[in-house]
Symmetry: D2
Subunit: 385 residues, 4 copies
Amino acid sequence: MKRKVCVVVTARPSYSRVKTALLAIQEHPDLELQLVLAASALLDRYGSAVNIIVKDGLPITAKVFNVLEGENLTAAAKTTGIGILELSTVFENIKPDIVLTVGDRFETLATAIAASYMNIPLGHIQGGEVTGNIDEKVRHAVTKLADFHFVASENARERVIKLGESEETVFNTGCPSIDLAKQVLEEKEINYLELYKKYGGVGKELDLSNDYIVVMQHPVTTEYTESKDQINITLEAIKELNIPTLWFWPNVDAGSDGTSKGIRTFREKNPDVPIHFFKNMEPLDFLRLLKYSKGLIGNSSVGIRECAYLGVPVTNIGSRQNRRDRGINVIDVSYNKDEIKNAIKTHIANGHYSNDTVYGGGDAGKRIANKISELKLKYHKTITY
Amino acid sequence: MKRKVCVVVTARPSYSRVKTALLAIQEHPDLELQLVLAASALLDRYGSAVNIIVKDGLPITAKVFNVLEGENLTAAAKTTGIGILELSTVFENIKPDIVLTVGDRFETLATAIAASYMNIPLGHIQGGEVTGNIDEKVRHAVTKLADFHFVASENARERVIKLGESEETVFNTGCPSIDLAKQVLEEKEINYLELYKKYGGVGKELDLSNDYIVVMQHPVTTEYTESKDQINITLEAIKELNIPTLWFWPNVDAGSDGTSKGIRTFREKNPDVPIHFFKNMEPLDFLRLLKYSKGLIGNSSVGIRECAYLGVPVTNIGSRQNRRDRGINVIDVSYNKDEIKNAIKTHIANGHYSNDTVYGGGDAGKRIANKISELKLKYHKTITY
Amino acid sequence: MKRKVCVVVTARPSYSRVKTALLAIQEHPDLELQLVLAASALLDRYGSAVNIIVKDGLPITAKVFNVLEGENLTAAAKTTGIGILELSTVFENIKPDIVLTVGDRFETLATAIAASYMNIPLGHIQGGEVTGNIDEKVRHAVTKLADFHFVASENARERVIKLGESEETVFNTGCPSIDLAKQVLEEKEINYLELYKKYGGVGKELDLSNDYIVVMQHPVTTEYTESKDQINITLEAIKELNIPTLWFWPNVDAGSDGTSKGIRTFREKNPDVPIHFFKNMEPLDFLRLLKYSKGLIGNSSVGIRECAYLGVPVTNIGSRQNRRDRGINVIDVSYNKDEIKNAIKTHIANGHYSNDTVYGGGDAGKRIANKISELKLKYHKTITY
Amino acid sequence: MKRKVCVVVTARPSYSRVKTALLAIQEHPDLELQLVLAASALLDRYGSAVNIIVKDGLPITAKVFNVLEGENLTAAAKTTGIGILELSTVFENIKPDIVLTVGDRFETLATAIAASYMNIPLGHIQGGEVTGNIDEKVRHAVTKLADFHFVASENARERVIKLGESEETVFNTGCPSIDLAKQVLEEKEINYLELYKKYGGVGKELDLSNDYIVVMQHPVTTEYTESKDQINITLEAIKELNIPTLWFWPNVDAGSDGTSKGIRTFREKNPDVPIHFFKNMEPLDFLRLLKYSKGLIGNSSVGIRECAYLGVPVTNIGSRQNRRDRGINVIDVSYNKDEIKNAIKTHIANGHYSNDTVYGGGDAGKRIANKISELKLKYHKTITY
């Protein structure tokens, strides 16, 4: 009998971080994949991960709509509460042998609570990292609920063990997102111009045949009211640089409406600035566009992870990725127009960086699947000290 | 302006563990108490903590009904999900400056998530302890969500710091439950015979003027199906000892129905065994009865905590209190009739033990209130390593 | 492609009212049954309809735990809210062509709202009846949400049409519960003494070889605080009559704890009164015991429906069945000990009554299934006036 | 002691329909207003009724966030479920003597269920009307749960009575929205040009000193997928007419994203068409702009109600207001560009119409408040036939 592995994916970026693990689980002879989609992964205005997943050929076992709408942080709490209610029913009906939750988004605690309270062994992908905002509370709380830990770096492994987890339950597999970066880095030729056209988007039509940059900036949850100001600083910096820019909308979070409003207002007033806006893009295509770009600007973790492996220059703004391990490709700046502009210029002058494997060597998906197939499953644990 | 301190109490035993802290907060000139009652604290069949609280003169700010009924663990998960939904609305409307959650019951995660996701500073009372069952997952997860930690012992303080919390946010105040034990120990004369009569209860009428013992045994969540067998072993041991016994019903948990059924069936078949059953008792009266008893049997944490201070002999059954700090008053036994009987006999022969302050010196409530009034409130944190 | 018919069963008594419809749907060549169990149908202390259903060979598509525990009416509201949340996810995932909801219990509105809001055609079984309590609000509200109406009597059909429903959507199929009554009435010989033993129960052992009676009395929701007084009147009446009595526990409702407490207290004090208590019984066996009894006492709708067909004498207490159509087998009494006693005595003197088909001729299940297979499905409607 | 009247407002348009009733309740010496805001009334992207209400000086007793985000009808069901969960806690804590729910939006059933299940007398404002879509199911279901009915027209009164409600519980008070229309009609001079500027909005700057028209078109819930096509037809008609147009965004509903997307796409492609877009406007200002306009186009009920009293010409598109009572000021058209254009032209040629009191004479708010103060409250009812 195959071991039933339920993975709950709650957002577009989480999906690209586990895609190769999902494929490896699906292909593994001893494992059966139960893919549950929830939260913003199902919503159009956050890029409908569901459509990408269907296209990637992964079967969906259940869908859970649980995003509560609101302009304040209360909505994040309620979304988590509804997630627990719904996921526990799903688990009750599909009876997984192990549940996997991914990363540090607030909804991941819903998966973790439902599984651990129901005595279903819980695995956590990407524990042990640090950033310094609310996400960190979530991530380490999930670690304390999880029975098995599939971490992405050596530092993360050590940190999870320091948190009182048994060494034999912590596995440094590398990050599955690097598997995609490896694939893209090894591709011979990509017609990135066609990619750009394929996705439509809105805003100024761009000429990408020369230099272009990419922006992805999320609201920072605990600095809610400032999201609009923060996005405006980046918008102004890009405006003054006047380089063709591909701009990606942020994912769902308290504060995303502040960010969205900032972007919309900017567009109304600056129709001629060379920025083209996208709501979503298949992960591989996003990496392909990054590969040929002069750099990524914003606070996306893609800049810290995949770009380390790809060697793409990253201008990392603000506190969101504060304490994460990073490669030499990253320049950290604060919310300051000139700092942002200078960092981008430095990067463009420097060009791409060498490949850095701090987040794994590109085989994380398979290592996770193999490890799961061999685990002695359990849902009991006690702290090591 | 007074600092608004919201404490969420979800069960009768949690209440007696924080009662003196609640009173100290209420009396503190710089603090305003916002007492929220939820979960089994409101339910008749779990002892209606609400009635005791009203009698104790504490004002109730809001009530939240969130216990989902069910015979499986799914209900515990759902209860937590509903708790988050409801508590976030309560917090939204009463706008506390700090929220306190107590102990390690599964519902405490609902309080912790609602507060931390809403950027309300979160304090945790009784973190850092270990037991070795599901409760431990919950407790340490709450620690990772909490901003301030009011722990009950030096070991607990060290453990919370090892978990990556900043030293200056961890305070060993002792356990407020010891404050009650101190009060009872210092009382001159108690007519415990009247106490026994005052509460009614059901079962055999007892003569308490000579030796009597007290039993309180909860189902162990992660050993769900065995609860009935486990309670039967204790029932048989008590039956054979044939000593007057005051038996207290367990609190709400997955599995409590197995325990209840065991007790009900035993009563039908053994109407003449000298056991009298109680559903609930005011915490002080419970301690008074313990003070004059020959010992406590079961797996209640009262045996580990208050009884250490009181010097009452404890026969601690099974894994529920596995790794907790304990005094010399405890004999640990497994689910084995003879072991249980022998431990009780040894204790009776030995008599009471000397006072042990491992869980504090009896002033925890005031220390917590004072500390809260002085705290520099914050809801940001990052792991220390 | 078979038409997918989703039936949501939320309680033991609802199940026996639709059992033959479920079987007929399952056996129909053009229909596929999707049976969803929710609310008290899954709970041990309300008779675990789920066990009976599994034994009857019906496959269960999904289970939904949604009963919120509480001693007040708030819990009924919340149970309904959770039901909507959960059932909408179930419907989203199993995509029924039509949903059926049954009767007038408060949770049926959850099914009705989830289906109608999701544009799934909704059928209602047992609309158009009257009783005069909260159940009536629910029933007619469900009628206004439903697209198709499978009613149990001619009066009910006329009432649904008066409520503004199109004649061609209202079908008097009779009540499926009568199908079971017909089957039992036609059975040759039943060893009802074995039946009685088969179910165990608690209380005095009875001799059923001569006269015996059956009691089933539910709390009346809108008279919450009086449930305990009301049940005591019946208990005293039965005690004075001193006839062997089979007593069935009521189903889940606000107030059932008042009723339960009344029964428990009575049992403690009157261990020798010839009453034997049952928590649940398979519907057919219940009818068999009724068939050989001297009458049913209480306020169960079984007295009004199945007993009309069976000709079993019914002493109907209080307002719960106030305005329902009834046969000549019913004597209505108020909550008055002497009235209850006199009615029972009159019935015993009179013996059984002739068969009355006011609620159908015993083929309702098949008529419902056939009708569903032929319906032109729709989810639009407008009032006829 | 004042009678506590809790009104639950869930959307901007509902607020303007009850504003005068809220004010009258607040001012009534025997009544205390408990205003609860929920659902889209709290959300920025649906016009934040909350801000208007605060500005109008009404105190808010509680806020309930319950809108579940989603692109399908499931979200409407879930929003209702969450609403019940939350509102029952609110009612439990504020203990109203009577609850009022307004109109026919899907969330109103949440209010109705929470109140009626908790045995709180329920009043319904605007029952008895007909339209022919999903809203009608909701409206009549609320009628069957409500104990008192404050209807807006004589036809509505008769329909509620036909639905089996007792005559003495049905009051034709007229519609409170007409109270506002009366006030605006009686105003001497309004500088509507300033009004237009005051609200900002986006799109082409307009000259309103000559003819202008107003558009408000909501998605039609049960024709979900067609919303985008439908809005495009209206957009094209307006484009061809080339008259200055004030366009108001629709309120939250399944399908509103289709409508929104239609409008956004049109704007991108037609920056020069003389349309100015608004997200929200205070109700009185909206009526003032209507008063001086050449007509309202779309499917808003304002066209049917307030415009009847104001005599403003209305081009009513599609089925949304299908069977509502209407004055001579309405021309009904289908989703057809030429029909829409012709109707608008006919109206412009004709000018304003005479005042029609089909929906009341402008004193509904006071009549409702007075009636509530005199009611003999009850929560029992039975159908009249």
